[in-house]
Symmetry: D2
Subunit: 344 residues, 4 copies
């Protein structure tokens, strides 16, 4: 047993949104990472207690406008929107600071794909191609050696974790249908018609059918896992809940693949994972507040119905970012993430 | 039996909000009122089918920018915000058009009270003092003879209907506490922090405690019913439902007043009303979509707990406006309002 | 114009559940059908005002234990559970009474399929094979000539209406994936773990994956429309809303089929329908309370994503039952069904 | 710094309900209390991973039928229903085990009051009169010295914490009106009509108006704080959310008491408390998952509107129970309770 260690010094840039405040919430209890600085142009000068009253008593930080140039950090979490993150990354890396970017800027590997889906030229393609894709359970080794991690989107985390075992052992063929349902916190703090309660509070609505930016991100991983060009159809829906996400996905089993085969690959890939829980029917409440993704499946004829559930702000964003930072700094992967879901 | 009658020609000004679309929804089926014109600056040129797809097939009107000068109408419903309504009323009345105003502009009787609570000078005090207050069950005769009806707010309708019997028979004394809970549609179409789903979807929040504009409106009616100066404490809360409102109110019974006395006054005032339903515990779902207010009460020691429930857009707004128009034009009070609540 | 007509005399058997009370709600306003009798073993002796307070003032019927033998009816609506309905039908038909059965007993055509999915022998296979399947827009002529209509399930109504145009014009091939989401009223009045609010109120849950009884019903219609053996994968989910349903379905377009082709078949099949509304994204609130199914689609690569929304208790149950009765008795198909959805 | 300590050995009796599983959830992370045994007649033989999948990976306990006689425990948490708890307490105390009882059995002090409100004779009146009432912030010293703590109900915790400063400094007079709103998890695991989602999912409903068992509990504390006989009117409502509670209470300020006086007493009583947070408007989401009660107030004329919010399962039940156990064993009061609320 050893009681001496150095605290990792961290900052969150763009900490005023939901992802940023969730990072602050998680890091407030992290035994090995010390959150030293939070930035927000909008909130500069406000204390966390004012801006996020639910953290009063848990953090006494005050928002600053921007990251001090003369301060040393071990890691910076970017909770900035896409196109903003790529303005920060080169400088941070050049200062020797490791970065976990929670935006879409460094996820897609290919600047052309980025330009198509994000309608914006990528200004840092070199780092983009070097970034580790931070879906921890699949790319743990890349993450361990990376100085820049592109933290996955919430939909990709849930979809990919629930489907990955099928690809790794080459059990399925043909197109992948992903029918995804997300709570409204996934849409962020910005006021919109679609998250106006009278519009969404007693409904479930498909949106961006066929053109959501998480589509190429999911496809990228499936292509990488299989070496093939996978056809992904992705339909997100907005649910009348605040936190939590469910994905229901459909793939065709190859001839001769049995339910036992499927069970075996899930067990093999996730049996020892602390943050992926195999269950018959994934349940959102079991994951709320926790860095857990529940996955399950049913075989219906030659179709496998793969299901996943998670808290979009935790395993779908800030929790996984901390999990990745833990790995980047050789800490216990579960440091600061040892809380169960609410259950109900 | 008589099969000849003239259709009442109606217009709705400011029809693009929730109240206006609810008027269009109700009037689309009214057997005696013909909705001829709907105006909206924002929606001008759009058909109702485009702007309110749920009415496609039920109305083929197109929004116009403003009411034509050269068209005759029997009645205009003003679904305009406060301060806007009082710009329209004098001209409409001078054209011989009857007006039902759904804003707060003509409800308070006294321009000084208006200026205090609405922070705006009243520019049409003469008509304000003449307007009938459109709480139908209490002021039916005033309404029948009026050319201008100030349609009540949703909170006042629910609070007053559930408490009025106690005042009429002088059963209570002291201050009146009204704890009110409303669905988010009551806040209107405007995007706000408080109706952003992540903020309100899993919560209930008090707001404008002690300073909501419906307070003086409720007090005005209680003062009028009693001839006294009633102390009203009114606390609205935002509920995570879209339609529907519940008020729970507390008053002190005078010495010697029994539960039987209370039962008798409710029965006496509402026993024959078609749109007020006495029940042990008012239920929002019983009223959704219907022009119904459910009222009930319990006696606890010397306190009477009076409860009311209604659909804030129907009996709390557009439905009562149509009920009032029916009375103004000597039609069956239930014309176009003969639909039960959804129940669940 | 003609003002003389005979009222159709109707009864509802098993009227105490959600479907039965919805029938009572709709029929209370029907201009041509007179609801004379409602039966319920559980509620016998209770007035509708006691059992369904939201209908107080709209109906003064009292539940009876069973249908009188000596009374004439034109039509009986069976709101009984499956296996109960087939005990009533032979006798009712022999009395010359037309029947609309809202249970699953007469939908599947084939007693063997019924026995497999409902785990019960069918005791009236002759009438089962004669029954018209009451998906009005597709089988209007069968319904017009039928004395027994098997009213479709809510999921089949929504799924089939949103997908049917693709089959009729033979635009798709391969398996059909239906990802369906329903409000909790679809589960009925029986208390269950899955509809206990703490379990479902902040979640969305897949259930009966691959083995829901509506699967063979959907497949039957697709097989009939195409003459082929269609592979249907159907996954229902429980939503945290009370009324309303959304289905998101996935089919593969045949080579060369374009978005214009798809648009054309939807327009061709539904352009003149009063109760099917084509829209870009179907919206549950537009259908709540109304006998409307909204349908829409997107083409994503060679996949067509077909969406449908309806109120599971109206177009998904009682409303369509009344629509079918209107047709069976040569009335205007919209009689008693002329109400728009709530919108919000 | 000291690294040696003894773990407190704990058991939960009746661990299968919401309160029990919340205790298991919280204790799974407690650094100083080791949960050794969980009992449930219904669940005996099941592992926690089977019975409460959200705790898989966080606890590997298995339910046993009853507490072993021959095992030593430092503390037992009773998550049993009222009337069951008083069967366990005498034996546990005689074994030298400290008890935190989460039922209503030992809260009321007076067996006569108990018999009236719980409709059951109290079989352990001696211990009842000795039990410390576990509202930590008010009765910390009693708790520190107690071997039996009656953990408060959720409504009393929220109501009393939000109102107590007014009594302690004698600022108010007359009756206290408490209008309380609770999420459905407060009603427990038992299936009921009122928590059936179609009944409660789009509504808010008053229940047990004037006769809820938490009424005498609240009154007992107010009487004790003031030495007077306080008239409490308490109206609970069921909200369509799962976790969380809000109370809005109304009291009359004595002549001459100002808003500054009120502010001062809240600040004085709670300024240094870690688990009571003074805020202008208490927000349920700020407390969900956390052992926090938010309190706030407004002064409206001579009425003070006192508001409180908490998570009914944490500060309203299991969290406060752990807080009390921490005190009983002289640990840091926040041990195992150092998690912030979800915020959204």
């Amino acid at each position: 047993m050893e009681f001496t260690f150095t605290m990792i010094k961290a900052a969150v840039i763009g900490a005023s949104g939901y992802t940023g405040s969730e990072l602050a919430r998680i890091l407030s209890r992290h035994p090995r990472i010390s959150l030293e600085t939070i930035t927000s142009r909008k909130r500069a000068g406000e204390s966390i207690a004012e801006a996020m009253p639910f953290l009063r008593g848990f953090s006494d930080l005050t928002f600053v406008d921007s990251l001090p140039d003369d301060e040393d950090y071990d890691v910076v979490f970017l909770a900035t929107p896409h196109t903003a993150s790529m303005k920060f990354v080169p400088d941070l890396l050049s200062r020797g600071i490791k970065v976990v970017d929670l935006s879409g800027d460094y996820r897609l590997g290919d600047p052309t794909v980025y330009a198509t889906w994000y309608e914006h030229e990528h200004t840092d393609p070199g780092n983009m191609s070097r970034a580790a894709y931070g879906l921890t359970e699949l790319f743990r080794e890349d993450i361990a050696g990376a100085d820049l991690v592109a933290n996955p989107g919430c939909y990709p985390t849930c979809s990919i974790l629930s489907l990955a075992p099928l690809f790794i052992n080459d059990l399925v063929e043909g197109k992948i249908i992903i029918d995804a349902k997300s709570g409204t916190s996934g849409s962020g703090q910005k006021l919109t018609q679609s998250t106006h309660h009278p519009n969404c509070g007693a409904s479930v609505s498909p949106y961006k059918v066929g053109n959501h930016r998480h589509t190429p991100e999911i496809k990228m991983v499936f292509d990488r896992l299989t070496g093939n060009d996978i056809d992904v159809v992705f339909t997100p829906h907005l649910l009348p809940i605040v936190r939590g996400m469910l994905t229901t996905s459909y793939a065709s089993l190859k001839d001769g693949v049995t339910k036992e085969d499927v069970t075996a690959v899930y067990q093999s890939l996730y049996g020892k994972e602390r943050f992926v829980r195999i269950t018959s029917v994934p349940a959102i409440p079991s994951t709320v507040g926790a860095n857990i993704c529940e996955v399950g499946f049913e075989v219906v004829g030659n179709t496998v119905v793969a299901m996943g559930a998670l808290d979009n702000l935790v395993k779908g964003a800030a929790g996984q970012a901390v999990q990745n930072a833990n790995i980047m700094f050789k800490m216990d992967e579960a440091s600061g993430l040892d809380f169960p879901g609410l259950g109900i």
